[in-house]
């Protein structure tokens, strides 16, 4: 493929398009973490007392824990004292009441990312919560949603305005003791989205959160909580980007979903954190705990993720299928290029009768990247007639990358049916040559083959996201052949 090597080299050096930094006046804590930082954080957010206590409890627990070592990823130990735990654009006392009060630089940044916060300019039908470093800077269509009883706001605001709701559900799916990064998040989370869909309401528009890391030497600790009450429906999307920096930055999020009886939650992610440069310098450590509790009978949660960014991804969006007939789904595309590492998958815990789960995982590895699927299907004694279907496919681009699959299956109920299929394939020279012989460039050929490979997952994404995801995949693969 020497003919296209030059072309490939040019592409490799293309910039990560969201890699810009916004110059701002900020309010940033000095680096370091101890109980006084947590007091300060809780105070600046004007939180109810129970929240401070919860944070401190989590912090104390975290200090007894060790960073997990079991994932198939490799990184230098993180110095938690060198990170700043709060950074926000400077603003007036209670936060902006309208877009006019938001720093125009921040608005500009979102515009550049293709997420205009002005409601007139937005795609009708998608409400956005924009989280910039440690704070939510704007939430659109709040009024329209409120008319039907939907609460969609920053979690910091929910803590002030709906403390009872938050208190009831926060930590009920991912307890503060769950794992190292979840404990840290419980102690220091700064913002994220809160969603409550009341009984019987079908949310009239897609809800979305756009996470942006801007400040250097900070961590982003986002917390999202979505509650779908009986018989309600919601589709939620999240997107993420960060500037290009030589230092690694930590993003440790927790997302909790609760689906009551007959409720349906569809949660889609397009993760495009800065992946580091082609030599593996810099990039985001994306250590995330996402879990859904299908608490009520006939409830359904569907996770769809397209993970193309981050230096390291450690993430297992899971479903606890508590209610009878509950359904959990996980559709994932994880792409790693250059020196990126991903250890991602899901857990499906079957507790209720007739619970069903589907797992479709597509891992793509290019360059010198490592891509691991790790999944657990657990069927408890109580889960009569539980069914799981898992399909786990890996695609290799080139011969310096790796794909690994670790499926764990634990079945305690004899009537359960668990099926697992796995394939590994490689984009062959012959396939590339065939496509080139038909007039396609090697890059376009790889992108076409990869998109074909991911089709089953893309069809689960909402329309606008599917298009974005395809484009992103093409971009992330640039420089992968040669």
């Amino acid at each position: 493929m020497s003919a296209s090597a030059q072309e490939v080299n040019n592409l490799i050096n293309q910039e990560y398009k969201q890699g810009f930094v916004t110059e701002l006046e900020t309010n940033t804590f000095p680096p370091g973490l101890d109980e006084s930082v947590i007091h300060k954080l809780s105070k600046i957010k004007n939180e109810p007392e129970f929240m401070l206590e919860y944070r401190l409890k989590a912090f104390r627990h975290w200090q007894t824990m060790k960073s997990p070592k079991w994932a198939f990823v490799d990184f230098e130990p993180i110095d938690y004292q060198s990170i700043s735990y709060y950074s926000a654009p400077k603003r007036k006392e209670d936060g902006p009441k309208s877009l006019d009060e938001i720093d125009p630089q921040v608005l500009e940044a979102y515009k550049k990312l293709g997420i205009p916060l002005d409601e007139q300019e937005r795609l009708a039908g998608v409400a956005v919560d924009a989280v910039f470093d440690s704070v939510s800077v704007a939430t659109t269509f709040k009024g329209k949603l409120k008319d039907v009883g939907v609460i969609f706001c920053p979690i910091s605001e929910a803590l002030r305005e709906h403390p009872e709701l938050v208190k009831q559900y926060l930590g009920s799916v991912v307890p503060h003791t769950d794992n190292y990064f979840a404990a840290l998040n419980a102690a220091v989370f700064t913002d994220g989205s809160f969603v409550y869909i009341p009984k019987g309401v079908r949310c009239p528009m897609e809800l979305s959160t756009y996470f942006r890391i801007n400040a250097a030497n900070t961590g982003q600790f986002e917390r999202t909580l979505i509650i779908a009450d009986e018989g309600s429906h919601v589709s939620y999307l999240e997107g993420c980007t960060a500037p290009m920096r030589d230092e690694n930055q930590l993003h440790a999020a927790v997302v909790e979903l609760v689906a009551m009886k007959d409720a349906v939650i569809k949660y889609s992610t397009v993760q495009n954190w800065y992946p580091g440069d082609k030599n593996g310098l810099g990039g985001i450590y994306n250590f995330v705990t996402k879990r859904a509790d299908c608490r009520g009978d006939n409830s359904k949660v569907s996770w769809t993720q397209v993970e193309t960014g981050s230096a390291i991804t450690w993430k297992y969006p899971s479903c606890v299928l508590t209610g009878d007939n509950a359904v959990g789904e996980f559709y994932s595309v994880a792409l790693t290029n250059n020196y990126q590492q991903a250890d991602t998958g899901t857990k499906m815990i079957h507790i209720g009768k007739n619970t069903r789960s589907t797992i479709v995982s597509k891992g793509i590895s290019a360059g010198k990247a490592q891509n691991t699927y790790r999944g657990l299907v657990k069927v408890l004694k109580s889960a009569e007639n539980a069914r799981n279907y898992t399909q786990c496919d890996s695609l290799l681009v080139g011969d310096k990358c790796g794909a690994h699959t670790f499926p764990y299956i634990e079945v305690k109920q004899p009537s359960a049916q668990v099926e697992h299929e796995a394939t590994t394939s490689k984009i062959s020279e012959d396939q590339l040559f065939f496509c080139q012989q038909r007039g396609l460039s090697a890059e376009d050929a790889v992108s076409m083959i990869v998109n074909g490979f991911c089709k089953e997952v893309f069809k689960e994404l909402p329309m606008e996201f599917a298009v974005e995801a395809q484009a992103l995949l093409g971009l992330s693969l640039e420089g992968s052949v040669g």
Binding site: A3, S428, E429, Q437, R438, G439, I449, G452, F453
Partner: protein, 251 residues
């Protein structure tokens, strides 16, 4: 259109083509025959730009340009088409998607706009009918699970849609049943025109009954050892190749 001069090609340090000379003009049909392993596919690959070969001597010009210096996708966009002896499968990518992507990249190269979706469908369906294929093939993944003969027919479908200038068919006839051979041959014949040339690699006279060549060349041991008209193929059918190879050794 195509001029091959003293072409020597090796794989590693093993010489495979040892001085090929061939002139092909627009409108002509050339058949290339010869024993297994004589270098026919290698020649097809070299012309279409497959990597892994080293040209040690000689040159190839195509429409006045140095063909060997062009990347494979540029050759394709400039009208060089290879119907593969062993077409590859591309899981997940539908036939129709590939066809559209290919056609558009060729159009773009010639400064044309992307093909209109309706026009494209009309074009494709017309060619599918011409080759008596089932429309379902359009929506299946490229060659995945196709029978040997279906794959070959699919190659000709692509050729019919992309309308190349230089069509190289590497053993398109092998694997086709008698009826399919006839249909595919008719498809090829419908593409014959004064500004298009064909190079057909084949082992059998049968194909040449349907598509009458202007020239027949025998490739043996990396060289063209004999060239003639359509009647040469009949002679080969009768006598085999050994009398030619003996000649070659003597020469």
């Amino acid at each position: 259109m195509l001029s091959i001069k003293n072409l020597h090609v090796s794989v590693g340090d093993k010489p495979i083509l040892k001085g090929i000379n061939l002139e092909i003009n627009a409108g002509e049909i050339h058949a290339i025959m010869g024993p297994n392993g004589s270098g026919k596919s290698t020649l097809s690959h070299i012309l279409s730009g497959k990597s892994g070969y080293t040209v040690t001597e000689g040159s190839v010009t195509y429409q006045g340009k140095e063909l060997l210096e062009m990347p494979p996708e540029i050759r394709a966009r400039e009208g060089v088409f290879l119907a593969f002896q062993y077409p590859v499968e591309i899981p997940g990518v539908s036939n129709i998607y590939l066809l559209k992507a290919a056609l558009n990249s060729i159009r773009k190269h010639h400064g044309q706009s992307e093909v209109d979706a309706m026009d494209f469908l009309t074009l494709v369906k017309g060619k599918v009918r011409l080759l008596e294929m089932d429309e379902k093939f359009l929506y299946r993944a490229v060659n995945e699970g196709f029978s040997g003969g279906e794959k070959k027919r699919n190659e000709i479908l692509q050729m019919a849609i992309l309308e190349p200038k230089l069509c190289i068919l590497d053993e398109t006839d092998s694997g086709l049943d008698i009826d399919a051979l006839k249909i595919v041959s008719e498809g090829v014949n419908s593409l014959r025109s004064t500004d298009r040339a064909f190079v057909m690699v084949t082992h059998y006279q049968r194909l040449l009954d349907y598509i009458k060549p202007d020239y027949v060349h025998v490739l043996a041991n990396g060289q063209i050892v004999k060239s003639g008209g359509a009647e040469l193929a009949l002679e080969l059918e009768e006598k085999g190749y050994s009398w030619l190879e003996d000649n070659q050794v003597a020469a």
